[in-house]
Amino acid sequence: MTATPESKSQDSQAYLPDFCAASTLFIVLLVAELVAIALTLAAHDAGGQFLIELSKTSFFVIWLALLGTAVMCQLRNRLESSGATRAFVISFVLLEVICLLLAEVSWQLTRIFAESSIINDTHGNFILRTFAVSSIVIALAMRYLYVSSEWRRSIVLEAQARISALQALIRPHFLFNSMNTIASLTRSDPTQAEEAVEDLSDLLRVTLSSPKEMSSLKQELETAAIYQRIEKLRLGDRLTVRWDVGDLPMRARVPNLTVQPLLENAIYHGIELLPEGGEVNVVGKRDGKMLEITMSNPVASGKARDKDGNKMAMSNIQQRFDLAYNGRASVSVDDSGDQFTVTLRFPENEGDV
């Protein structure tokens, strides 16, 4: 039971398919009929009449399927908002109750109008069989829906991470300011202009590589250093960066673009807004099997604008870390004082995807 092709983009995050859609209803009925056929085949022996048995079973099963789909169609939005696990548990219980109710109603109806000649079973047995078969079928369907929703979500996460990686580096401000700097240097200092173009190219090359790719910590620090050189041309004495990362294993694997975006953030939201500039401190530590990189920068008091932009950059990094380390890494932020501090914590050499 896959989501309908025309389902909206927000549906890609949904756990349950849109039961109100015609295509979903069709698939539900198809599956119901296949179950009916399987049940009839299993019970069929030489003496019985297959088609008559099949039509009786189908009649019952299709009713169950229609009623279940109608209820799910009505309740889907409310179930969605209660979270994945609860949504599935509640759906299961609800559908089970519907099955049992319908079984009871069918039994009573056949007893009154057909004197039990349609259902060849005792009352208790019939209810019990309905319960057992429907439990198995509904559980299988739920499992299928769960797995496929997880799969859809992982695709969305990956796409978001890809976009995040792009956003993480090419901040338009940076790109255009750098170009302006280069335009200025072509006259006043052609050698430096040449180096700046090379640096900028290297940086763009890293951005264009796949965001899922891992690189070594050494490469990451080099990328950050290139970025620092370009910004230094623009900001001059206002920018100082103190690197204290000697303790980190340079061969450790980390996701692409981990350190540079932090430095960019420190400059864009911190140093650039201070008339006198300031110093960015980067400290790397090893703590057992975990590695830790802390970056702190002074922030301007008073005008605390663009806090949202800052949050977005942090959630970008968080997303890419989640994808690379399956939740074993953390990004924490402390902006309580006049310093803004970000700490990355991630397992050493465990990030291979």
């Binding site: 255009f176 900001l235 301007a300 008073g302």
Partner: protein, 248 residues
């Protein structure tokens, strides 16, 4: 045409100077690295046009332009930005001159030609639309034809004084042109109205006390240059002042 170039980044200033030096109609009379210097230089050099970077530390471009407007001979202004989509939309809407970085020669000369002096109201609107509408960090007083920027953090009280508003700050008292109403709106996060004619900085209030005749008045922290006796809170503002004081 005399041009003053204002940008916090040296290469960006160099670039503007390089382009203008090639053009015979323009003369770069000075450069400033921040908004404060820009206002002082503009008063001294009386340029025809000021080229202003939007994103600068301290005073940003738009606040600087607002202060430049207070000069005796306010210069025309052209803004420069690398990327501020909201600001650019706001400039376009009002035909305010701007250039995008990297700066293109033809675009710069065209913008300088069109440069016009801006009304303060337009700048306030631009600041809002450009999402740069943080309250100013300074208010601007005119003393014998010269501009004086008073940091808002130094101010204990604004008081309506006939036609003007008197600003009482750590280094004395000055008169400014802004209305008390617009100041109340702009600085509502930092100041509270105690009666019809006075705003007091919440951070400067030490306590509220009763006078002998049963009125409430504000007592300011030590070092604040205001005569306490005058800061009587009118009855309708007492609750609000207390609330703000509790929250701070």
């Amino acid at each position: 045409m005399k041009v003053l170039v204002v940008d916090d980044e040296k290469p960006a200033r160099d670039r503007l100077r390089q382009i203008l030096e090639d053009e015979s109609d323009y003369e770069v009379v000075g450069e400033a690295g921040n908004g404060h210097d820009a206002v002082a230089l503009a008063a001294e050099l009386v340029p025809d046009v000021v080229l202003l970077d939007i994103r600068m530390p301290g005073l940003d471009g738009i606040e600087t332009a607002r202060h430049l407007n207070e000069l005796d001979k306010p210069p025309a202004v052209v803004f420069a930005t690398a990327y501020d989509e909201y600001a650019v939309d706001a400039f376009e809407a009002r035909a305010i001159g701007y250039v995008l970085k990297p700066v293109r020669r033809s675009r710069l000369t065209a913008a300088l030609e069109q440069a016009a002096r801006l009304a303060g109201a337009a700048l306030r609107e631009v600041a809002t639309e450009a999402r740069l509408d943080a309250p100013r960090q300074n208010v601007c007083a005119r003393i014998h034809g010269e501009l004086k920027l008073i940091p808002v953090s130094d101010i204990s009280c604004f008081r309506a004084d006939q036609k003007y508003v008197s600003v009482e700050h750590d280094n004395g008292q000055d008169l400014i042109d802004d209305s008390l109403k617009s100041l109340a709106e702009e600085f509502e996060a930092q100041f509270v109205r105690i009666h019809r004619g006075a705003l007091v900085a919440v951070s400067r209030i030490e306590k509220i006390e009763k006078t002998a005749d049963g009125k409430s008045r504000v007592v300011l922290r030590e070092g604040s240059q205001v005569d306490d006796k005058e800061l009587i809170i009118s009855r309708r503002h007492v609750a609000e002042v207390r609330r703000r004081l509790r929250e701070s």
